[in-house]
């Protein structure tokens, strides 16, 4: 909890067990956030990402802290994976001074330049052209940093998707477009809103690679990201990755997802990213069943301490609303 965002990022990049711990942290955090809303302790709305942890951790493992990331309002997991502290994210969700942006943003608005997280977007698709622009900075300045846009399947039907990717393709901008296809845009299944099954196919119309990735596997996401980032840094332009994943929770806090196809959740849960990765690390000898259990317990204890701490932490003074309107 005392580590800086950059230290947390480096820890995740250097250590596969830390990646597992981070996935557990994200899952527990999101479950706890949902509970805090249900208890009425937090107001407003929130969008949690249980089930999508491997995408966030795979991206954070591959990207440099100097690569710029645009991400959606379902962004707690990406933020925690990139390195934001639990305190920074939870305090923002709870509107406290210690929050990522001082409590004026809320659940949908997180930011941490230290690890490349640009302000997160509550407008579907808006981060796609913005990521292209961050990549333009790298190209003009002649660095080999890259940008990464993380967005959902719903964003693939908005104009910003087409305009942002087309622009990046014609200018060969160093950017990776990562679509978290969690099967639902708000309450609508992807097949109701989209005439094709694989969103990666859309890359063909921009003449760029379109790659389907197992979004339940952090290693697969990391590997695909490494390839796309290498291509971007070499000046060969953008890629579109489609991470097939599944949103365990509803769209937002009040949504119990009654629209799910019966049995769908259970089928996806068979390939739960945390269970799968735990088994792999045990196979590799990096964890034992016992040490995994201890790790998960420790994450839970730390989370409860964090919740207690943030509940006691101060709200912003009224004057805070007047700060940072203009630079």
């Amino acid at each position: 909890m005392s580590s800086s965002p950059l230290e947390r990022r480096k820890a995740l990049q250097n250590d596969r067990v830390e990646r597992f711990r981070r996935m557990v942290e994200i899952r527990s955090f999101e479950d706890r956030v949902k509970g805090l809303f249900a208890e009425g302790i937090v107001h407003g709305t929130t969008h949690t990402c249980q089930g999508q942890e491997a995408v966030a951790v795979g991206i954070a493992a591959a990207a440099r802290p100097t690569d710029q990331v645009t991400c959606t309002y379902r962004g707690h997991g990406v933020a925690l994976a990139l390195g934001l502290t639990g305190e920074s994210v939870l305090a923002e969700i709870m509107g406290r001074v210690a929050g990522s942006v001082g409590g004026v943003g809320g659940s949908m608005h997180l930011c941490e330049p230290e690890v490349g997280l640009l302000p997160t977007f509550a407008i579907i698709g808006a981060g796609i052209p913005v990521a292209a622009g961050a990549a333009l900075t790298a190209q003009v300045n002649g660095t080999d940093d890259a940008a990464i846009a993380v967005f959902g399947d719903g964003a693939s039907n908005i104009g910003a998707f087409h305009e942002g990717i087309n622009l990046a393709a014609i200018w060969k901008l160093p950017v990776v477009f990562v679509c978290e296809n969690n099967q639902y845009g708000e309450y609508s299944r992807i097949d109701i809103t989209t005439p094709i099954e694989d969103l990666a196919d859309r890359a063909a119309s921009y003449g760029i690679p379109g790659v389907i990735v197992d979004g339940q596997d952090p290693d697969a996401v990391e590997q695909a990201m490494n390839e796309a980032l290498a291509r971007a840094r070499a000046g060969d332009g953008p890629s579109l990755l489609e991470a097939k994943t599944y949103r365990y929770a509803g769209h937002s806090r009040a949504d119990t997802a009654p629209y799910r196809i019966p049995g769908e959740f259970e089928r996806w849960y068979e390939r739960d990213p945390i269970n799968t990765f735990r088994a792999r690390l045990i196979d590799e000898g990096l964890l034992t069943a016992v040490s995994a259990e201890q790790l998960e317990e420790a994450v839970g204890v730390a989370l409860e301490e964090l919740v207690a701490h943030v509940k006691e932490s101060p709200f912003p003074e009224p004057a805070a609303m007047f700060r940072n309107v203009y630079a």
Binding site: H109, V130, G133, T137, Q139, L167, I170
Partner: protein, 337 residues
């Protein structure tokens, strides 16, 4: 002092900032090879090269969004929107992304970008290419908004806008691009954003205006029997409340001349502030001279009638001074016929 057309003054301003700061880049439709549809970026590609001066696809949402991302990470993009109406498809990036990023980053990210757009009627472009639309962006904390009225002001506003650490929209009356005027260039000629200019002075009335209407008002005062302070606001966000109030304090009368529909125009904000804070100085009703609440018509005579003319400004102010009552706009008189 060199004479320049307003489009040349704009290109000169961008070029001066590009020479001073390698992080300034220019993006827009046909801004590079063609030098801009209105020649407001003529010569920039030759001098600064294709890395910094780029033709974009017809994708306002895409390239304005890219400007937001570039500005957030260290560049100073200057984006051209050919006709301000095209900003409609990119307004999210200006009003909801760029204008909020500093706030929603706890002050850690700033967005020093400039969006330039041509505005206004008078050239027969029809309803979808002739609006001014400043009010689309007026109620947007976090954004700055300027309107050019002359080659010199365009030069100074553009340079200040590029240097500003915030997103700035600069509206350029298209009808003025070909207007020639003396332009003093150089670092001393920056126009501070938020500062009005007293374009004329007099005692009977304070006329507050901006953009292409500044010329119309000066034409009116040249032929009128009364004299007026003519306040060219130059910036709407923030606008120079002090300059307007201090003039009204002296003249006791406020007239607003706006190239936009009556309902919801920027003058409403100025009128409300003066009616409140300057109430005790007012000797007559605040009078707004605007366009009627209709789309900009195409027919040459219709379009000319739609815009406030110098003669119309004179007759409305004549009536205000003679009667002390609010003069009715021309269209209500014609409808009554």
């Amino acid at each position: 002092m060199p004479k320049m057309r307003m489009n040349q003054a704009i290109a000169a301003a961008i070029a001066d900032e590009m020479r001073a700061d390698p992080s300034v880049v220019v993006l827009g439709e046909d801004v590079a090879a063609a030098g801009g549809p209105f020649k407001t970026s003529d010569g920039l590609l030759d001098e600064f090269g294709p890395l910094r001066v780029r033709d974009t696809p017809i994708s306002e949402m895409g390239f304005v969004g890219a400007a937001v991302g570039a500005a957030s990470t260290g560049l100073r993009p200057v984006v051209e929107i050919m006709f301000v109406e095209f900003l409609g498809v990119a307004l999210d990036q200006v009003s909801t992304e760029a204008a909020k990023f500093h706030y929603l980053s706890g002050g850690k990210v700033s967005v020093p970008m400039v969006v330039r757009a041509s505005v206004g009627a008078g050239l027969g472009f029809g309803s979808q290419h002739s609006q001014t639309l400043e009010t689309w962006m007026f109620a947007t904390p976090g954004l700055k908004l300027a309107v050019a009225s002359s080659p010199q002001n365009a030069y100074g506003l553009i340079r200040s806008a590029i240097r500003d650490p915030n997103p700035v929209v600069v509206l350029e009356p298209r009808v003025l691009y070909a207007t020639r005027g003396d332009v003093e260039t150089g670092d001393d000629q920056l126009v501070p954003l938020g500062s009005a200019q007293l374009a004329g002075s007099g005692d009977d009335v304070t006329i507050v205006t901006l953009g292409a209407m500044v010329g119309t008002v000066l034409e009116a005062t040249a032929m009128a029997s009364w004299t007026a302070d003519v306040v060219d606001l130059r910036t709407l966000l923030p606008w120079d409340v002090g300059a307007v109030l201090s003039s009204v304090e002296r003249t006791g009368r406020l007239v607003l001349v706006e190239e936009s529909p009556l309902t919801g125009g920027w003058g409403v904000e100025v009128a409300a502030r003066v009616a409140g804070e300057g109430f005790r100085h007012l000797k007559a009703p605040i009078t707004r001279i605007t366009c009627p609440d209709v789309p900009v018509p195409f027919g040459k005579e219709l379009e000319a009638r739609f815009l406030p003319s110098a003669e119309y400004v004179v007759s409305q102010v004549d009536e205000l001074l003679a009667t002390g009552s609010l003069p009715a706009p021309w269209w209500t008189k014609e409808e009554a016929k």
